[in-house]
Amino acid sequence: MTRFSEMGALLSATILAGSAVAAEDITIRMAAPDWGPTRFMQDHANETYTAPSGNNVKLEIDFIPWPNFFDRVNASLNSGEQKYQILVSDSQWLGTFIEAGHFMKLNDHIAEDAELQAIIKDLHPALVSGYSTYPNVPADKIAEMGNYAPDVNYYGFPQFPDNYFTYYRNDLFCDEGENAAFKEKYGSELPCAAEDWDSVTWDDWGNFGEFFTRKAGETLAGQMLGSDFYGIAYQAGKPLDFSTMQINAFFWQWGGGIWDEANEPNAPVLGVVNSDENVAGFERYLELLNYAPPIAKTGQMGIFEIQDLYMQGKIAAIIDWAALAAPVVDPATSQVADVTSFGMMPGNMLNGTLDRSANLGGQPFVLTTWNDDLVVAEALDLVKWWLSEDTQIAAVKAGGQSGLTSVLENPDYDSWAPWNATYRKSLPWQKDLWHVPEMFEMLTQQQEEFDRAITGQVSAREALDAVAEFQDELLRDADRLQ
């Protein structure tokens, strides 16, 4: 061995020994709602994650029940305890916590990291728009710029993307006797296969509702009913955003809309929120509640209530989130597990095309602002691991969803879960709610007014006039309107 190679070997050994000594123990603490997608993330990280830096990085998720999730996260962030390095956040909370200085802007890190840029470019534009940008940039503009542009502010990445669609009883919709009776009454056939739902409109949905609403003692698919049976259901609940999410779909599909935060301070509220299109869409939404279970009359028909009633075999078809589909096809929790299929949410014929616009669900995860450079680097490596193709495929196979187009285009994607094809086809129609800090006040007041209309205290027009007036005043006070 020459003296030169001896020195090289010594140097290599010193570096290796040094790096072994320098490997640090780092814990990335993450606040997350307690449910399947985050439980999977923890388990999969425990099993597979090794930090590329060589440090001993451990993901430690603080699982918080959904009903307390916002309160706990809010209290933690505003108390200044600086407990979490990563947080799962509803997309609508972005503005609130960004303007409070808690969520980290990631532009500099993305600009320096080709891998992160590749992830952003691979994500569906609707998810980049809803989960990452603040001030919000609409999905069509995000798509135009190829998802990544340095002058857009990026904050989050998808932890669990979600959208809603139809769950239906194939034993009823494919029943020959029921189909014949339906055809005789309405002149069209019941949608049996998932593809048949691609052309279903809200008028059809109303017909399904009327047709399948039966009293105890009547027959349904040849069976005598022991209790009342209901045709259709979708979100109509006062808590959280349980009516707004569905009603927004009607606004957009009828050609109306919500206050356009991307164009503040020039985007008006009056005349938009209470436009004729919004009123017409909202009236249609209210009419269709006549075929829902009676809980709709109380304004408490949230996502869990309709899921529960459907699983008990009391409704023919519902519209709910992909996140709630797994228990519905599990025989241990659902009486209709083996007779449930999934199809697109109905749409409205607008300017010659069937519009299926809907409100985006799911959550991004974000980094907090108080971490040192080393923790930020490790947290970003963790983000890259979660959004790597292998991890995403494992997550989808475990019942989750992916926002990466490379995973969505995998030929086997639709076979990994019975609702995957529907989720994939629905994704391009997704739009999001506002992200500004005033969101909570706007949402709470809107939920109250929608609830008044759902419970029959005011008309659709009166409710939307009240919403528009409130939002106009609030946004002017906040200098978001001229």
Binding site: D71, N74, N78, T96, F97, E99, A100, G101, D228, K238, P239, P293, P294, I295, K297, T298, G299, Q300, L309, Q312, K314, P437, F440, E441, T444, E448, E449, D451, R452, I454, T455, G456, Q457, V458
Partner: protein, 342 residues
């Protein structure tokens, strides 16, 4: 520093000590200069003896409790009271800005606040009246001896031992129009499901029933304490005089339970005025905002809208109302005592 106790150690009493004598004793018994460690030890022991003196021991024992109370109760109260005069949001980076009474005047001029006060008043008056009525009736029932009385009493007392969340979920399911027992029972007669919470009046009734179910046993306990204290000879005398049962109740029973009934009225009014859990879980303030109490609105202001200083001001307005209610109660009790010459 020389602590008083170490001063007394040099002579039995201060009266007996004179300065020259003190000096003489010091010179005779102590070395000219003590080592520093020893001096510190003497000082510490002296301080402990001084602070542990009987006249200071009471104060010493309550100091930790007072300090804790101040830190976790009084200080936040004072802090939030101060905050109510500022413009401050807990979720913004901007510093609080003084604005005097603006939060209070804004709230007093806000229709939403008055609407919630009216709703709260309606729930309080209906629920407390029902609790007093049922509680009094139950107390009259349990004042008499009957078989299995103890077991029945235990069952009747159970609701007030349950958590608000359990009671709220129980009633939410009970009222559910599709799966609930109430709807099932009514449908036996009408053939239609029944959605109690679908109308403002029905939703308020639903909350009042749940609250009264939970807290009537509390009223019963207080009234029962009054009933068992009525001397038996008064009833015997009334029986000899052949006084009718209504007169016996009015002249013997009621005067004994009146003060306890007033106490129950005060406790339940204050508690029901602050109702949050039951309403939030059963109706979330709906339909619309027709069952939204002032406590829920204060929560929304503080933790959903992040109007921290406005929420503080509203909390003090609620406190003011509670103080007024308490003062009215104390005034009534004082008047009654004065009229009875107590």
């Amino acid at each position: 520093m020389l602590w008083p106790s170490s001063r007394t150690s040099c002579c039995a009493t201060r009266i007996a000590c004179s300065k020259p004598m003190e000096k003489a004793v010091n010179q005779a018994t102590l070395p000219p200069k003590l080592p520093p460690a020893f001096e510190r030890k003497v000082e510490v022991r002296g301080f402990l003896q001084w602070i542990n003196a009987p006249e200071r021991r009471g104060a010493l024992l309550v100091t930790p409790a007072l300090a804790t109370l101040f830190l976790i109760n009084i200080l936040p109260l004072l802090w939030s009271f101060g905050l109510s005069f500022f413009n401050y949001r807990a979720n913004r980076l901007t510093a609080p800005k003084f604005q005097g009474l603006e939060n209070y005047t804004d709230l007093l001029g806000d229709d939403r606040v008055w609407e919630r006060f009216v709703t709260t008043g309606l729930i309080v008056s209906s629920s407390v009246a029902l609790q007093l009525l049922i509680g009094f009736g139950l107390a009259l029932l349990f004042a008499k001896k009957f078989p299995m009385r103890r077991l029945a009493l235990m069952f009747v007392l159970t609701p007030m031992m349950l958590s608000f969340v359990s009671v709220a979920i129980f009633f939410k399911l009970f009222y559910d129009p599709t799966l609930g027992m109430l709807s099932w029972f009514i449908s036996l007669f009408t053939g239609e499901s029944f959605a109690l919470l679908a109308t403002p009046a029905g939703a308020i009734a639903g909350i009042v029933i749940a609250d009264a179910w939970m807290w009537s046993p509390f009223v019963m306990l207080l009234v029962l304490a009054g009933l068992v204290s009525v001397p038996g000879y008064l009833y015997e005398a009334a029986e000899i005089d052949r006084a009718p049962s209504w007169k016996r109740f009015r002249t013997i029973t009621f005067p004994y339970v009146k003060s306890l009934l007033l106490l129950a009225l005060l406790f339940r009014t204050i508690e029901t005025f602050k109702t949050f859990d039951l309403v939030f879980l059963i109706t979330e303030g709906g339909p619309g905002s027709t069952t939204e109490t002032i406590a829920i609105y204060a929560y929304r202001l503080g933790f959903q809208f992040f109007r921290t200083s406005e929420a503080s001001a509203l909390a003090y307005m609620i406190l003011f109302v509670v103080i007024v209610l308490t003062s009215i109660y104390l005034y009534v009790v004082k008047q009654r005592n004065a009229s009875e010459g107590v």
